[in-house]
Amino acid sequence: MINVEPTLNDHEVMQFIHNGYITLESIVDVDFNRECESVQGGRLNDFVLTDEFRRNVLLHPEVAGVVRSLLGDNFLVPTNAHHHLFEAAHRGQTWHSDGLTEYGYGITHLQCYYYPKEVEIEDGPTMILPGSHHRLVDREAIAHYGDILGQLSLTVPAGTVAMTRYGIWHKAGPKLNDDRRGMIKFSYFRTAMPKRDWMRDSDEIPPYQHAGRHPYVTEVESYRDRRRGELTWNWLCGLAEVEEEIPPIQMFNSGIPLSEIQLQ
């Protein structure tokens, strides 16, 4: 099996639990970014199966290292992707989370956004709401929301990969120009129960440290975030407090186990 080393430590995993995302800026090779800039919009099922895409993006040591840290070994490597391509100016999308909810304390699905080209604020960057990944909502019932304190526009350099806990609220932000803005979206899935799969400084499991309150969150909501974070942390560490199985096959679930991939 291709060897993938975890790259996150205890603190970084706690940060991911709290925020629901991590961004890896400018990690993809410049030439490969240029190649991806001209890819057509829509489904990219053949393109993501190429060794080139796997080597440069899906199994890039930094990307795969985060996946290995959060989803354990032998995770499912994406076998499909979608190129969200915008050119004409538009007002932006409404806040939403994708598909159906994948509710639970665990982290079993990472949804990733790869930007082959630099995204500036006028380009209609993806917007995310940190900490929203555990909020169980009807996506159509949050469509009237506007600006939210703490919302983040992913204005990023070319070659950036943003990795999110599935369920995070997001949308394409308002686009003021007619420039091409692309984002290739794909997902990794867990196949094994967690056992503190990231880098360890010691075998002693530190207690979960709540990182504080997101700007839009009320006081009681922050207490709940803290409690939920503890449960997620304990589950990821393989502690007995939370007994939650890996969910069965999900909608849009598609991937090949890491152990079955052989790069030429």
Binding site: H84, R91, G124, A143, Y145, G146, P174, Y216, D225, R228
Partner: protein, 174 residues
């Protein structure tokens, strides 16, 4: 008699104008669509921020100014007065959603969205500057609350968060 009618209308109108005398500074954001893969313009409303001076000269004020001018030169007619309903009906409703950190109207805000059907259908950058410090601040600027959050409708568990709280809906006419 005409003067009495004019004064009564003037008083009523001025009360309304005072309540919205600080509107303006339009900064629309957000808008339509659901999936990034299929951005349909299903929610064709603008989300804007308003605060400050009057952004649109009220149709009522314009009508009133016109009537006063006519009154001064003795040209005010019954037809002018009968046009009041037309002018009143020309006003447009603005809807403002405010997300308060508690049910207290003095609490700070965590989110907001303003829908103005009269605003141009153009993309506008997002903002992190709340239009008001609180719901009460908006009320002080002439907004009327049309829906209060009902605590019993909000989820209460020890772990799970869901929709943004607490949602106040306000309106104003321009």
């Amino acid at each position: 008699m005409i003067i009495i009618v004019i004064r009564a209308i003037q008083f009523s109108v001025l009360r309304r104008l005072c309540r919205r005398s600080r509107d303006s500074e339009i900064a629309p954001t957000a808008g339509f669509g659901t999936f990034e893969s299929s951005p349909t313009r299903e929610l064709n409303a603008s989300v804007i921020v308003m605060k400050g001076e009057t952004r649109v000269k009220s149709a009522i004020k314009e009508w009133l100014d016109n009537c006063i001018e006519k009154l001064k030169v003795g040209e005010l007619t019954e037809a002018d007065l009968r046009s009041v309903p037309v002018v009143l009906n020309s006003e447009k409703q603005l809807i403002l959603y405010l997300y308060s950190k508690s049910t207290n109207l003095r609490s700070p805000l965590g989110g907001w969205a303003l829908y103005d059907a009269t605003a141009p259908d153009e993309p506008v950058l997002p903002s992190q500057d709340a239009p008001y410090a609180s719901v009460l601040d908006a009320v002080n600027d002439g907004w009327k609350i049309v829906q209060f959050p009902r605590p019993e409708l909000y989820n209460f568990t020890d772990v799970d968060n869901a929709y943004l709280t607490y949602e106040f809906i306000l309106e104003k006419f321009v």
